[in-house]
């Protein structure tokens, strides 16, 4: 069991480091296609972390929805629009100052909060053993269709509205 724990720590460290590098890549690359590929790497790393967190359902949803659907959409649009205008160098204007100030302040807040606060909340009944005994997807499916029935229905209406809106926007010509 100790060997497995050490392997998990090493895996976490490796995935976390690659996620940080790819996140910086998402912000820093000049060509949008490189940003998109860095984001794909980041999302795959996140999927691995979901697996480490015993959230197999989220692992599958992450890969199918994000890495599969959303990023394919991004890459298609980048290939379609071929945004050559973006290669121009960004002038470091006022937004860089705002961005850096915001980043420093936000990081300082995080540092204060995460280093001074204990994790609140009292543990619930869904230990990994209990979830594995009942089946991971079965447990989450039951929760989604009982406790979270209303949010799930609202989300389904939202998806319907988004699909209709996207079709409408794609058909209309704006002059």
């Amino acid at each position: 069991m100790g060997g497995l724990g050490a392997a998990m720590v090493i895996l976490f460290a490796f995935v976390a480091a690659s996620m940080l590098v790819s996140a910086v890549g998402v912000v820093a690359f000049r060509r949008p296609i490189y940003n998109a590929l860095a984001l794909v790497a980041n999302m795959l790393g996140l999927a691995v972390l979901f697996l480490l967190l015993n959230a197999q359902f989220l692992f599958v949803a992450q890969i199918i929805v994000y890495t599969g659907a959303v990023m394919v959409l991004f890459v298609f649009i980048i290939a379609l629009l071929n945004p050559r205008a973006d290669i121009r160098l960004q002038r470091p204007g006022a937004e860089w100052g705002f961005g850096i100030v915001f980043g420093v302040v936000f990081a300082a807040l995080l540092l204060i909060i995460l280093s001074t606060r204990a994790l609140p909340g009292k543990p619930g009944p869904y230990t990994p053993e209990a979830i594995d005994a009942a089946g991971n997807v079965q447990t989450i499916g039951r929760a989604l269709y009982t406790t979270f029935l209303f949010p799930v229905e609202v989300a389904s209406v939202l998806l319907l509205v988004a699909a209709v809106g996207a079709v409408y926007l794609a058909r209309r010509r704006i002059h």
Binding site: V26, N35, L49, A61, A85, I100, L110, P123, G165
Partner: protein, 100 residues
């Protein structure tokens, strides 16, 4: 066992990188990607809390966040394509028609 703080730190740093990206980049597609990065970071802390508090709420919330993000990307990219078709520059600073 990996401490919960490791996940929360990673999540916070990723969120900060995404937020700074939204602030400093001016290409709408890249800004969208940075927003996705922020949503992903939040999902990571949802899943971490869910695991360490032995609860399913975080997983369910992360699932809903994924749903909302998918809807947001669909509509946002449709708008970006329309803006591009209208012949405008891919720069949010120059898309200021609604300012007046």
């Amino acid at each position: 066992m990996i401490p919960a703080y490791a996940y929360l730190w990673l999540s916070g740093i990723l969120f900060t990188i995404g937020a700074v990206g939204v602030l400093i980049r001016r290409n709408p597609l890249v800004m969208f990607m940075c927003i996705e990065l922020m949503l992903n970071a939040v999902n990571l802390s949802f899943a971490a809390f869910s695991r360490y508090l032995n609860s399913l709420d975080g997983v369910a919330f992360a699932f809903l966040v994924i749903t909302v993000a998918a809807a947001e990307v669909v509509v946002g990219i449709a708008i970006i394509v329309q803006v591009y078709r209208a012949g405008r520059a891919m720069d949010v600073d120059e898309l200021d028609l609604m300012k007046e």
